[in-house]
């Protein structure tokens, strides 16, 4: 009877998780969906606590209390701009949990587990461990603890791939000789090291793909745990998470016209290629008053945010600027490139935080036809996603990447922190086009001054 109750709680949780994610297909239904998923989680945990194997509760209660405290603190206080770091960290936690359950299972039962469980356990520990350290490196890069630039050395790909091969050989040997514990722990250690080496060479601009990919691995590690302990709700939830991460990484790759292999192993060569680009003309610097006048008398203005908006925390100021323009009857739209920022959907969340209604946020395909009739396009800390070289220059490293075609607007104002190149180190011919003017300095400061000038106009 009790077993039926427990299994039923898992079934209910699985249904609620799926319904919850289905709610995510629209902003209006998303919150309700998440409440269903939360209820599902509580149900599954309640069911688990009734299991016969659980004989003492002190570790459980301590763990639940400590985890809830940390989770709640992070949930309430992490600022929206730090969402990429937070996400990377949570992938590390999820993967570590899966990995530790696997280690404990092997430690307790060893060869008695049988082939199938050893296989599942191997996947769990392999994916779990490399995701743990990989995500921690991603976290360190996004948090600025280590430089965001790719860390490259000679023979890197060969070394990394050999390391992965050795790790997989350990796994295969373990499958046939499950009694040799040294193989298991060697695999564990190698997977930890491989995770670090996998993410180190990847630059900050490629982080959206990496985060999505690590999300996928963390989910698959959970699903493998489900196989190892024969638990269907774990398989279902892990697969949903893994699938979601995989779909997101494909979306991100398409938005950069690159393959996943190229992102993971393509750090090579990108440096030398960039040097060949020549400068077409001089960049022109604008001043606040002129730009304010042009904005104030425009009919349509499109704002294009990038990672620079996040670093300058300029989303609220941008909203103020939009308010000032809308009060004068100017139509304001926001153009969001899928890889703008450091994780999928990063810009949308920041603008939503600044109270921008989501009906004003436009995706690539919907906003590009509007640029020719746009009077002023304001680029806030975005670079590669508006680089016309991706469209015009087949030799460019980002050739073929879909871009926001701001250069077709009557006037482009680019807000940029410094005169140097962007994160990717690529020259951007947009900046020297005749319809483009540069506004240097801190984006938040410039935007605030623009808004004030417009109020005065």
């Amino acid at each position: 009877m009790k077993t039926y109750f427990i299994e039923f709680s898992y079934l209910l949780a699985s249904i609620l998780f799926i319904l919850g994610l289905r709610g995510m297909s629209h902003p209006e239904t998303a919150r309700r969906g998440m409440h269903l998923a939360e209820f599902g989680m509580v149900t599954a945990v309640m069911g688990t606590l009734l299991q016969r194997e659980i004989i003492s509760y002190e570790w459980i209660i301590a763990g639940l209390l400590l985890g809830s405290t940390i989770g709640l603190a992070m949930g309430v206080w992490v600022p929206m701009t730090a969402m990429p770091q937070r996400t990377a960290l949570s992938h590390a936690f999820g993967a570590l949990a899966a990995s530790l359950v696997g280690v404990s299972e092997y430690y307790l039962h060893g060869a008695k587990l049988g082939e199938f469980r050893i296989g599942a356990l191997g996947f769990e520990v392999l994916l779990g461990s490399l995701t743990t350290t990989g995500s921690l490196v991603a976290f360190a890069k996004l948090q600025g603890l280590v430089p965001g630039t790719p860390l490259i050395y000679k023979g890197q790909n060969i070394f990394n791939l050999s390391l992965l091969a050795v790790t997989i050989i350990c796994f295969v040997l373990l499958f046939f000789h499950p009694g040799i514990a040294a193989l298991f722990y060697a695999m564990l250690a190698l997977a930890f090291v491989f995770g670090i080496l996998l993410v180190l060479p990847i630059g900050a601009a490629d982080m959206p793909v990496v985060i999505a990919l690590l999300n996928s691995y963390a989910g698959l590690a959970s699903a493998a745990t489900g196989f190892a302990i024969s638990n269907n709700v774990l398989i279902i939830a892990g697969t949903l998470d893994g699938g979601s991460g995989f779909i997101l990484s494909i979306v991100m790759c398409k938005a950069m016209n690159r393959s996943i292999t190229n992102v993971l192993f393509g750090a090579f060569g990108s440096v030398s290629e960039t040097a060949v680009v020549t400068r077409a003309g001089e960049m022109r610097e604008a001043n606040i008053e002129d730009v304010a006048t042009q904005l104030a008398y425009a009919r349509q203005v499109v704002l294009v945010p990038g990672y620079g908006m996040a670093t300058a925390q300029a989303q609220h100021a941008l909203r103020e600027l939009a308010n000032a323009l809308e009060e004068r009857g100017v139509s304001v739209k926001y153009a969001i490139h899928p890889v703008a920022g450091r994780m999928p959907g990063h810009m949308n969340v920041l603008l939503a935080e600044a109270n921008v209604p989501y009906t004003q946020l436009y995706e690539l395909d919907h906003i590009n036809p509007e640029f020719p009739t746009t009077d002023v396009a304001v680029v806030v800390g975005a670079n590669d996603v508006v680089n016309p070289d991706a469209r015009d220059n087949a030799k460019s490293p980002i050739a073929g990447m879909p871009i926001l075609e701001v250069d077709k607007a009557k006037l482009v104002i680019v807000l940029k922190r410094g005169r140097g190149k962007g994160f990717s180190g690529l020259e951007n011919p947009l900046f020297s086009k005749p319809n483009c003017e540069m506004l240097y300095g801190d984006a938040k400061d410039s935007i605030t001054r623009l808004a004030q000038a417009i109020h005065g106009a």
């Binding site: 688990t48 745990t225 209604p357």
Partner: protein
């Protein structure tokens, strides 16, 4: 484990993968960040495995590993759901009236 018990788990996996593809593909790019934190919270269901490891108390080592796993998964579940809700609350169709509108 016998094939009779192994095969059904693969059915569950494959069907979940198909269903996941259908459901996730319908999520608009607008909500991709909340989606990621939501799936992350949901996959914190590995808590179910961690709880058994921590509570079965077979050896001290396994209990400690289980304890750390419980802490990690609970952090993800609680933190993930709280942050997702915080984000989703912000997505509005119409702009809320600005609270401080006496600056000029």
């Amino acid at each position: 484990m016998s094939p009779e018990t192994v095969i059904p788990t693969f059915y569950v996996f494959i069907l979940a993968a198909f269903l996941g593809y259908q459901v996730i593909s319908r999520v608009p790019p607008l909500l991709h960040t909340p989606l990621m934190s939501a799936t992350n919270a949901i996959s914190g269901i590995s808590l179910v495995g961690s709880l058994v490891t921590a509570g079965a108390h077979q050896t001290t080592v396994s209990a400690i590993l289980g304890f750390i796993a419980v802490v990690c998964s609970t952090t993800n579940v609680v933190g993930g759901f709280v942050i997702t809700d915080r984000m989703l609350k912000m997505f509005k169709r119409k702009a809320a009236p600005a609270p401080k509108k006496n600056a000029d």
